[in-house]
């Protein structure tokens, strides 16, 4: 990957969102809004970030570009490569594991022809790599689809949810 020459502008909506976040922090702490800014930008860009978009965020928040790359590559909810439209995370931490999370993962992998960390060929489903505890142990096994929790999963229930995705 090399330095992007194209510079792009953030959309009016994203700028408005970032401004709202910036307003929550002291004026000299604009960088505090970087995480929220990246989330907004990713949301508008089909769920992933590009170098040009990260550069635009850096420009908007007056940060060194590398400072934005650091944040974007650190957090697992931020994607720096193109992924499918819907993000699916199956918790595989201990409670879910004891209640059959591994079978759920295997079921999704088989049914949609992908592995953990991959996107389905139809561009619908992105199965996130190794999701740790999402604090819903009482409903184990569970998964999160586009920020929404689904608990007490069975293969049938998973199919119902995933098949309904656009």
């Amino acid at each position: 990957m090399s330095e992007s020459n194209e510079s792009i502008e953030l959309s009016a909506h994203v700028r408005e969102q970032i401004d709202a976040w910036v307003a929550k922090y002291p004026p000299e702490q604009k960088r505090s809004a970087v995480l929220s800014a990246l989330r907004e930008v990713q949301h508008e860009n089909d769920g992933y970030l590009t170098v040009a978009l990260m550069d635009a965020v850096a420009g908007y928040l007056e940060l060194p570009k590398i400072a934005v790359y650091e944040v974007a590559t650190f957090y697992s909810m931020l994607e720096t490569q193109p992924v499918a439209r819907n993000s699916v995370s199956v918790c595989t931490n201990i409670s879910c594991m004891l209640r059959g999370a591994d079978d759920i993962v295997e079921h999704i992998e088989k049914k949609h022809g992908l592995k953990l960390g991959e996107s389905s060929a139809d561009g619908r489903i992105y199965l996130k790599k190794e999701e740790e505890c999402l604090a819903a142990c009482c409903g184990a096994p569970m998964m999160m689809v586009n920020h929404k929790y689904y608990e007490n999963l069975t293969p049938e229930k998973v199919d119902e949810v995933l098949d309904a995705l656009e």
Partner: protein
């Protein structure tokens, strides 16, 4: 015992410390070694390597010495079982992922990790899993990466943030996948980038041109002084056999602290350039012949004497470079004055000499380098210290981070690595007007100006920016006005000098000069001037200055250590004058086609690492050094050549046995001489610009400064060299009907060139910036002035 002092006990020895100091600072000050990787005294504390864990009484677990503030009565044990166990455990973790490739690692032998692994590591690793591998990054021609060796101390990241002021490196990814790099492929553009090599405790960041060429134990370390900018950084040459393999900074808190500019670090490659002259040469009937020294010097004598006998000594002119040593410069003028000529100068890039007779004894900073850190306000006039004197810029940056208002009047809003309080971006022709407006704003605000100044400024229009600038200077307790390289090359330099001086007087600020080269100050003291002898001595004359000696062509020229077409203000005119001369004697380190064109005798010259000598830096500090390696072939140190020439012309007092003897005639006076810079002459009127024209702006790129750096290959691959583009503000290009990607034809009465257009909105409108030393820049003649433009 003062209130901010505490007493602590380390390994049973009581010691005094300042309240709030970190433990490691106290142990360092008392020569108690605590191992560390991430701690560096010039950087903020990260405390992420954990190598410096020590035992502190009553603390439940070992504490990192770099991040533990001292407290009164604290008892510390750096070598207790608890401390050693902790340090050894940390070492074991650090080595888990570190490759065992010391035999093929450039850092081997000078590696902090290797050294500490000897003291704290286990003989055999308990870790049998695979080690991680990190892909290498290409971060440019100067710094080699081998990121698998990185231990994530983040010194390089903090250096970028805190010292270079340009955060280019960062830690991306997380946990096992964390990597140090630029994320996107990107060349480091900092002029201080090489320092990451020194601070990297392992072999992850190493010197790229030096790579695989020597081991540290094969080299001898020789102290010297940096030969380029006017800071005079202290440094060490690492010599293997007869070759300078690399250069590293030597610590001198008062000069370069612990840093070194890239130009000073990497220019040593130029010493080994294939263009180095190996033997004296003479031109006979248009053919060049290598001859021995005896013949060459006889030829110099006969040819120059012939001109003197026929046309008089006034037909002889001498130009020496301000990067020559003090001893060379002194003997150069002594020799020429001995021959009866006062046409002597070193100010290659000056054009306005009107106020020569009132100029200061030698233009200098007017304060110490350390003083710059403590200014409250500074006004830079025609100056870009970030690229011209990077370590002066570093001091100004520290002042700015501490709240000082650093301001500039420049032909462009140059990319800086800290925030400027104000930048007046004006075309060269408007610089004097702008300074006059600042002076007028000061008068508005109540400053009392003399009659001459009032007469000059009563009609200038003052805007709010001028007022803000004036106010910041006026309110500062500790302010300075600094004339930079572009001001000194400005066609109205005398006016800028006078106005800057008046502003300094009105605000109680110090007036200073940012010299361009290693001996810009020394050359004045050595008397390489048409109007003054050494140490401000009087001299018959005045002779012709660096401009007049070419505008009024002479019959004979002596050139010392320069490439005149690239190094002079108007290379085109200089070449014309040299070509028509009967005799040109060139003392030169490098061969070139153009040199062979105009020269008649070429004397191969030793460069800075090959001769004993001295530089006087911008604060008037005399720093001497010895030669570390022999010059190539038959090349000889300049002072020796000049001494023999003095003898050959039967001049009195030319019997020197060493550079020290030459220096002795100046050194005492130089160390005590700190004259004021407050010398100028106000002109009767301000210069008026021709309206609607396109003004030329010239800037000397960092890595094109002098012949040595121009022959250093790695530096020539950086962005800081002449790019041969016509840089213009987009509005200016639009006015001329030029679109991005177009070529623009530029001409004046002496030349015409076609250059690719580069849009740059930092430039003042109505200007075109062309980098000096590019052949097309030379073709266009003088560094400033009006040009006509058209599309292709």
């Amino acid at each position: 015992m003062s209130e901010d002092s505490v007493t602590i006990e380390v390994n049973g020895t009581p010691m005094q410390a300042r309240k709030g100091q970190m433990l490691i600072e106290v142990t360092d000050a008392n020569d108690i070694y605590v191992p560390r990787f991430c701690y560096h005294k010039k950087l903020t504390v990260a405390a992420n390597c954990r190598m410096c864990l020590v035992e502190v009484e009553k603390a439940p677990k070992p504490l990192p010495a770099c991040a533990t503030p001292v407290a009164d009565g604290m008892k510390v044990f750096t070598r207790s079982q608890l401390a050693l166990d902790a340090q050894k455990s940390v070492m074991e973790f650090l080595l888990i992922n570190h490759p065992l490739d010391c035999p093929i690692c450039d850092q081997g032998g000078e590696c902090e990790l290797q050294d500490l692994a000897m003291g704290y590591g286990r003989d055999v690793s308990r870790y049998s899993e695979g080690k991680r591998v990190v892909k290498d990054k290409n971060i440019g021609p100067l710094v080699q990466t081998e990121m698998t060796r990185c231990i994530h101390c983040t010194r390089c990241v903090r250096f970028g943030d805190e010292i270079a002021g340009l955060r280019e490196l960062g830690a991306t990814g997380r946990g096992e996948h964390m990597e140090i790099g630029t994320y996107v492929e990107k060349t480091m553009t900092s002029e201080l980038s090489g320092n990451v090599i020194d601070i990297c405790p392992v072999g992850a960041l190493t010197n790229k041109p030096f790579r695989y060429s020597a081991r540290t134990w094969e080299m001898v370390q020789r102290p010297t002084i940096a030969p380029h900018d006017s800071v005079g950084s202290n440094m060490d040459l690492h010599v293997k056999g007869h070759t300078v393999k690399r250069v590293v900074p030597a610590e001198n808190e008062a000069v370069n602290e612990v840093w070194l500019a890239d130009r000073d670090r990497y220019s040593c490659e130029g010493l080994q350039s294939p263009d180095r002259l190996q033997a004296p040469m003479i031109k006979q009937h248009g053919e060049w012949h290598e001859v021995d020294w005896e013949v060459a010097l006889e030829q110099v004598h006969d040819r120059l004497q012939a001109v003197i006998d026929r046309d008089g000594a006034d037909e002889l002119a001498g130009l020496a470079a301000p990067w020559a040593t003090l001893e060379e410069l002194y003997l150069f003028q002594k020799w020429l004055r001995g021959l009866g000529s006062a046409n002597i100068d070193h100010r290659l890039r000056q054009h306005d000499f009107r106020d020569d007779d009132v100029a200061p004894a030698f233009p200098w900073l007017g304060e110490s380098l350390v003083d710059l850190e403590h200014v409250d306000a500074a006004l830079l006039v025609g100056a870009y210290p970030r690229k011209e004197q990077p370590l002066i810029n570093h001091r100004l940056r520290k002042a700015a981070l501490g709240g000082a208002a650093i301001m500039a009047v420049n032909p462009a809003a140059y990319a800086q690595n800290f925030e400027f309080a104000e930048t007046c971006v004006v075309a060269p022709s408007q610089m004097a007007q702008t300074l006059a407006a600042v002076a007028a704003a000061l008068v508005e605000q109540g400053a009392v100006a003399g009659d001459a100044l009032r007469g000059l400024i009563n009609n200038v229009s003052v805007d709010d920016q001028h007022r803000r600038l004036a106010e910041a200077l006026r309110r500062a307790d500790n302010a300075t006005v600094l004339l930079g390289v572009q001001a000194q090359a400005h066609p109205e330099f005398a006016t800028l000098r006078a106005l800057a001086g008046e502003i300094a007087t009105l605000t109680g600020a110090r007036l200073g000069y940012l010299g361009e080269s290693a001996n810009s100050s020394g050359a004045w003291l050595a008397g390489v001037l048409p109007q003054r002898g050494p140490l401000m001595g009087t001299t018959p004359g005045p002779g012709l200055d660096a401009r007049a000696m070419f505008e009024q062509p002479r019959r004979a020229y002596c050139l010392f250590n320069l490439e005149p077409e690239r190094d002079c203000w108007n290379g085109r005119e200089v070449i014309r004058a040299l070509t028509q001369a009967d005799c040109v004697v060139a003392f030169s380190a490098y061969d070139s086609a153009s040199l062979r064109e105009y020269a008649d005798v070429i004397l191969p010259l030793a460069l800075y690492a090959e001769t004993a000598g001295s530089y006087v830096n911008v604060e008037g500090r005399l720093q001497s050094f010895n030669g570390a390696v022999a010059p190539p072939g038959q090349a000889r140190p300049g002072w020796k050549i000049l001494r023999v020439l003095g003898n050959r012309f039967d001049l009195a007092d030319f019997d020197y046995d060493s550079a020290e003897q030459v220096r002795a005639e100046l050194a005492d006076a130089i160390t005590s001489l700190r004259p004021g810079n407050h010398h100028w002459q106000l002109p009767g009127s301000l210069p008026q610009a021709a309206a609607g024209s396109l003004e030329r702006v010239t800037r000397m790129p960092t890595n094109s400064l002098d012949p040595l750096v121009r022959h250093a290959p790695a530096l020539q691959q950086t962005v800081d060299v002449a790019d041969g583009h016509a840089h213009m503000h987009p509005d200016t290009a639009a006015r001329l009907g030029l679109a991005a990607g177009a070529h623009v034809r530029l001409q004046n009465d002496g030349g015409s060139v076609e250059l690719p257009l580069a849009l740059d909105d930092s430039l003042a409108p109505g200007c075109v910036l062309i980098h000096a030393t590019h052949p097309d820049a030379i073709e266009l003649g003088g560094w400033f002035g009006n040009l006509e433009a058209g599309g292709r």
